[in-house]
């Protein structure tokens, strides 16, 4: 593999590239789905190849191939060079990457048990046990459980002298119970929605979830939701569980701080951002309770690695500090426009894609409250748990979320279960109304494995550390 990388870099330089990097990547994914007491699907997919990224005449070119031999490396490098030359005819300012990056080293996801060494039968058995526990609840209609395991081995080398090898693992699992009546469908999932909860870890991450212990509870909740009252409409105090807080961070802080979006590079697809450069160090994004970091060093986070796909070391930086907007997620190219250096957020979802600015682990730092304390201090509010739907405009300002489960909170006590709960807001108003964040004991890293961006499309696996949080004067329910 090292030979192929060197061949690509040599060819790129000989043919006139002022910069080149090459990534060789092998990706293995195993997915298991159990449905209504049966093993419904097992898929086992492998993909490997390489991608060469070059700068010629101040413009980018990229080409990749699944064929791993020297002749193909030569052809693909030629193609990248030709593409870059074509780009240069219609470029804006020449690409400036800032100071050279010469990282060298090896990184492996810390893990106790290699998920690919665990017998398939053991994994299926765990899902079937959880399925049986959900099935023991009367009134449930559909039960589903899933697991996903990923192993990615990648090599990065550049003409600046960087040479990095990384072996990254992910393990994820989740269960979901659906209950139906003639005029309603309700579902509950554990630990999160979107099929499963995932982390950069080994199989120990799966066993720690204790799927079978929570299975009966979520099935009971799905059935109970059928007869629960609708979430009322009004302006109320809103308390979010940690997983919904995580998605709120993702959509309304993670995405708008991506500097490529700010510069319009995603305007035709993923969108732009309201957090434009003149607001940096001036915008009071949230209350003093709100401090948000991008931390690629967070244990078990899906955005945890040794180096990003430009060779920048994993690091922790502030995006929001005591409510003030102080930083972006950056690449080498975008950071240099602001006179900064990259904070290491460039990742590609495979050998055949260019790296883009992607969230690492964008975390709401723990506060000093607790869910119990937030409830006890609330006179008229709603507690919402586990995302069911999301919607946000392309500048990441106006949003609406729905959750699977909610409870009314009246005079400091949790009241009736509510169904079809939603809330809406405007990003800075919402975060400025945050008056409590849970402490370290309730803080957890939530994996999100479905973040889409880029053309051709890429799906990033990112994470958000979050605890329950409380917000005042929020529009709850469907207002008339």
């Amino acid at each position: 593999m090292k030979d192929l990388a060197e061949a690509a870099l040599n060819a790129a330089q000989v043919k006139g590239a002022s910069y080149a990097d090459v990534r060789l990547d092998e990706h293995v994914t195993q997915d298991i789905i159990v449905k209504n007491g049966q093993l419904a699907a097992v898929s086992d997919d492998a993909s490997e190849g390489f991608g060469v990224r070059v700068i010629v005449d101040g413009a980018w070119g990229f080409a990749g191939s699944a064929r791993l031999d020297k002749a193909e490396v030569e052809q693909v490098t030629d193609r990248a060079i030709r593409i870059a030359r074509a780009s240069a005819r219609v470029r804006s300012a020449p690409v400036d990457l800032g100071p050279p990056v010469t990282s060298r080293g090896h990184y492996r996801t810390p893990l106790e048990r290699d998920p690919f060494a665990v017998p398939l039968a053991e994994k299926v058995d765990l899902l079937l046990r959880a399925d049986a526990a959900m099935g023991s609840v009367k009134g449930g209609t559909i039960r589903e459980g899933s697991m996903e395991f990923i192993r990615q081995a990648k090599l990065f080398a550049s003409t600046e002298g960087a040479f990095i090898e990384q072996e990254l693992f992910e393990s994820g699992a989740g269960i979901e119970a659906t209950a139906t009546s003639p005029d309603d469908v309700q579902n509950r999932s554990y630990p999160n929605s979107f099929g499963r909860h995932q982390g950069s870890a080994g199989y120990e991450y799966i066993t720690a979830l204790e799927l079978d212990r929570h299975a009966g509870r979520i099935a009971e909740e799905a059935v109970a939701l059928l007869s629960a009252p609708q979430c009322p409409s009004g302006v109320k105090t809103l308390i979010l569980d940690a997983s919904q807080t995580a998605l709120q961070i993702h959509e309304s802080c993670g995405h708008p701080t991506e500097l490529d979006r700010v510069f319009g590079m995603e305007a035709a697809y993923a969108g732009t951002s309201f957090m434009t450069p003149e607001k940096l160090n001036h915008l009071q994004y949230g209350s003093r309770n709100v401090t948000i970091t991008a931390d690629a060093l967070t244990p078990t986070g899906l955005g945890t690695f040794g180096w990003d796909d430009e060779g920048i070391p994993a690091q922790r930086t502030f995006l929001i500090k005591d409510g003030l907007f102080v930083g972006y997620l950056t690449s080498r190219e975008t950071a240099s426009v602001l006179g900064q250096q990259s904070n290491g957020t460039m990742r590609a979802d495979g050998w055949n894609r260019i790296p883009l600015i992607r969230m690492t682990n964008v975390n709401l730092e723990p506060g000093d409250s607790s869910l119990a304390e937030m409830v006890s201090e609330t006179k008229d509010g709603v507690y919402m748990e586990t995302n069911r739907s999301w919607s946000i405009d392309d500048k990441r300002l106006n949003f609406q979320f729905g959750t699977q489960l909610a409870y009314e909170v009246i005079n400091g006590k949790r009241g009736r279960m509510l169904k079809n709960a939603t809330y809406a807001g405007i990003t800075p108003e919402f975060w400025n109304s945050c008056d409590a964040v849970g402490g370290r004991a309730e803080w957890r890293v939530w994996g999100l494995a479905n973040c889409g961006k880029g053309q051709p499309p890429q799906v990033a696996h990112v994470a958000h550390g979050a605890a329950p949080a409380r917000f005042q004067h929020v529009k709850v329910g469907i207002l008339k």
Binding site: L39, G49, W60, S65, A66, A84, S87, A121, I354, Q455
Partner: protein
């Protein structure tokens, strides 16, 4: 031929030979193999300039086996002897774990209708042609005091399917967008 300068797809005979050998080495009672191969390129532009410009060549080899009334599926993106052995091994391992159940039968012999989905102009589009197109759009936007954002992609691919019961000839298609 211009298209051969840009789009590189596996030769039809080589593709058939790979699929035939894979089927021959399968230990399952029934096996099907589906190969899709694509050579694609995409030019993105923003603020009246090209900022991302990419191309890739990839394949997917998807294998379904039926063994003792149980089904297993696995995929890989390589077309080598070692890859064929690996993907078959993984598909059989999955089949062994499945409960015995009703098996979706492999399709029997049938006439394959020819679909004309190939355009030499699309398949042979060069990076320079895509850049020319984008330049025209951006120049027009610039003259109007506007900024253009978008993407221009071209791709060409082929698809082959074969099983222990039937084989379907290779299909080709090209897509501009």
């Amino acid at each position: 031929m211009k298209s051969m300068e840009v789009v590189r797809l596996t030769d039809e005979a080589e593709l058939k030979q790979f699929m035939t050998r894979l089927l021959q080495r399968s230990p399952a009672q029934e096996t099907e193999v589906m190969v899709t191969e694509d050579d694609s390129a995409l030019t993105r532009f923003a603020n009246n300039g090209i900022h991302q410009n990419v191309a890739e060549r990839d394949a997917t080899v998807r294998v379904r086996v039926v063994k003792d009334g149980k089904t297993g599926v696995a995929s890989i993106n390589q077309m080598s002897e070692a890859a064929a052995a690996d993907v078959l091994k993984r598909a059989v391992a999955i089949a062994d774990l499945q409960p015995r159940s009703e098996v979706v039968p492999m399709p029997g012999p049938a006439a394959a209708r020819r679909v004309d989905a190939w355009s030499d102009a699309t398949a042979s589009a060069t990076p320079e042609e895509r850049a020319d197109f984008v330049e025209t759009v951006c120049a027009k936007a610039g003259r109007a005091g506007l900024k253009a954002f978008g993407a221009f992609s071209t791709s060409a691919g082929q698809f082959g399917w074969a099983s222990t019961t039937i084989s379907v000839p290779r299909k080709r298609r090209s897509i501009p967008s």
